[in-house]
Symmetry: C2
Subunit: 499 residues, 2 copies
Amino acid sequence: TLWSLILVCLLVYAVLKFNSTMSHPLLPSTSFSDLLPAKNGEEPTMQFLLEVVDILTNYIRKTFDRSTKVLDFHHPHQLLEGMEGFNLELSDQPESLEQILVDCRDTLKYGVRTGHPRFFNQLSTGLDIIGLAGEWLTSTANTNMFTYEIAPVFVLMEQLTLKKMREIIGWPNGEGDGLFSPGGAISNMYSVMIARYKYFPEVKTKGMSAAPRLVLFTSEHSHYSITKAGAALGFGKENGYVPLFVNATAGTTVYGAFDPINDIADICEKYNLWLHVDGAWGGGLLMSRRHRHKLSGVERANSVTWNPHKMMGVPLQCSAILVREKGILQGCNSMCAGYLFQPDKQYDVTYDTGDKAIQCGRHVDIFKFWLMWKAKGTVGFEQHIDRCLELSEYLYNKIKNRPGYEMVFQGEPQHTNVCFWYIPPSMRNMPDGEERRERLHKVAPKIKAMMMESGTTMVGYQPQGDKVNFFRMVISNHAATRSDIDFLIDEIERLGHDL
Amino acid sequence: TLWSLILVCLLVYAVLKFNSTMSHPLLPSTSFSDLLPAKNGEEPTMQFLLEVVDILTNYIRKTFDRSTKVLDFHHPHQLLEGMEGFNLELSDQPESLEQILVDCRDTLKYGVRTGHPRFFNQLSTGLDIIGLAGEWLTSTANTNMFTYEIAPVFVLMEQLTLKKMREIIGWPNGEGDGLFSPGGAISNMYSVMIARYKYFPEVKTKGMSAAPRLVLFTSEHSHYSITKAGAALGFGKENGYVPLFVNATAGTTVYGAFDPINDIADICEKYNLWLHVDGAWGGGLLMSRRHRHKLSGVERANSVTWNPHKMMGVPLQCSAILVREKGILQGCNSMCAGYLFQPDKQYDVTYDTGDKAIQCGRHVDIFKFWLMWKAKGTVGFEQHIDRCLELSEYLYNKIKNRPGYEMVFQGEPQHTNVCFWYIPPSMRNMPDGEERRERLHKVAPKIKAMMMESGTTMVGYQPQGDKVNFFRMVISNHAATRSDIDFLIDEIERLGHDL
């Protein structure tokens, strides 16, 4: 009996262990129609969601593991033809939940791990766990920012966070206005619209013909969204007409350069022009006592674009347009739709934001950012930014005099952008000239293609003006360390050595 | 020893049970800096995420339980002053993860359950479990639609889904183009931009002054986003100039009315005008063999807005702009930014979508929709839509001759919109006139306010033209049943009886 009892003990242990591991797998025949709101749908719903979470947490675990590839590259035609068991085509009949889980796994398998410590391809990189939790909650709440009525907590979070951002910009008492928009391009478009409304309010009802021909000023290196906004809003890009708006870029996309805001503000004040600061990329530096001087004069701007989804590591999408003058956003965009923004609600309707926006429905982009701010504090963002800039300084110092590297612009980078050419040994003694330029132009694309095929790391490249293709390294990923920078350089040399 | 062994058995059982229930709760001192990418961050990360999921699954469970309130209403000043333990203010120093979990719980507690079977307040209602899983995965993948390079799977899913939608619209072979945009208002804005580009391409570079004064046509009941687009893009709203664009609404916001697309298309063809169909709300009916005739002629449109996040129950945001002519979206919006859309990539770069969009970064809105389509099949969407329309028919038949109810428009609703006045007993014998109108105008807001205070259900109201405030009931929630409709009517009568 003693042994049989030990046996029972082990059995109990085994059963429980098994139970807690498997937690009732979904039956193969279960389909979407068994889930909530179906009768008795609670159990399959919880099972299904926990299986999805299991897939996601495994993905997250592996994303931070450097032995995992950044991507498993396939050409469009390969994915379209269908990988083993993964078919992108939609059909008339439902799939089982078992197949849906396989689809989820495969979607991640053939995607790109933008949170991987060696993913440096875009301005937005990294996977912040708090931000991620915030997004999961946001999608569970599944609501809309247009009224306090259906998003009371989120509307207030947006208001408080925008005020805090305006305080950091330096507007007195954080006064002013703002909104989160679906990205920097739309935020920049808002700035142009508001500027036009400020000087020529009659355009709202009478169209562009009510104003003289207007001109927007922006630098050659500024983001193309300013030109896009000009085209969309009916400005065109002609010269010789009435100046309206000046965009100063705080952190250009390629070089990470900061326009001298104070100098530009002097001119704008003198000629009564709207000053917009596009800090989509560089705005985050305002959080750092060490680096915020690069935006000095930003408090003189009439409007500022600032994307927490870039330098501050917030998951996509999270972009703010901030406006110094209160009320103008409403004036510019309101259409007073009675079916949404009833004046006779039981609460203070000035909290309804919908009539300020060019959107009607507006996704909740605030919560993840608010939650990250709670979890990290202002100091946490500062540390993140200082660390990224230190890393790029490390990269700059590592390669500036290294054989085979040429820097694209002189001097230390102002942001985390480090722009450089890698010169393969076979080209190092070539005289300058068209032949060398042509060959060099092909080096970065070739290395990038090999990187993607081998899946080890990803970094961007582009030409700029008369400069042939060069690498643009940017660091916003909080998972990256010096060893990852070293790895990138080793990898460029390994792949480019024989070109 | 026999007893001690039994005791050991029970002990093992208890420990395991405890373990599986508690699964290592987070230590009170754990903070964001202990999570990945921190060294040994894997365990706390998994614990934290599972605790978040626990909060979310409890929320979901309760959302579908009719004994749960739809909302726990508080005024803005109450939430701003801070509820017990819930403080919206941001601070310099980090909070513990324990507090972050409390914040998550409270955020949901003071929010609105848009997935509750008795939430009828907006065009977008309901919480689809597959769609939710899709959103969780999307935020874990945290990438950007602008290039195939970093969103290979999602870009292809978008392409295939848009093609399928164009086939359903009835364009030959599903040819054409399109994009998912951050909502119907932006989709409608795209349509106006493309129309202008089609007839006056020089506006892109020369501004509105390169075109004659142009006019957009849309009905009085159409969505305000058409007027907003006109204002933003520099048209204004003057009469007497050159017609360019006609918007036909398929499912107006308040009445759910469908414009006669074929008749409008005849005129557009005769005068060579751009025909846009705003099917943000009504587009979903294309999925139903029984109801798609309401959009007949839609295949003659030049562009169509269709929001799966409304009638098809997809989580917010999910809106498509579909364009019949291939290439025009690119022509209209391209700015050829070399740093994003390099022509010398190793894959077929026609899959890069960024230069078609007015956005730069673009959130992944496709996956949840694609996953729902996989799980439900085309037939699943059809069933959902037919069911919602049946429910609204049930409501219409229930109240059309019921004492105390007056319908706002005559005849059966075309969509799920049922618009009605509730007349409290005290008003039923009042003669028509200004006094009655004034009193009636206040009835819906009062009932709505009481509904929100008691948290039992939510339905919208608004005035329209010369009609005083009336209820607009809409059904897109797949959790709603006849008993919920009955409940709504009982609740209106309970709350409004003594007014």
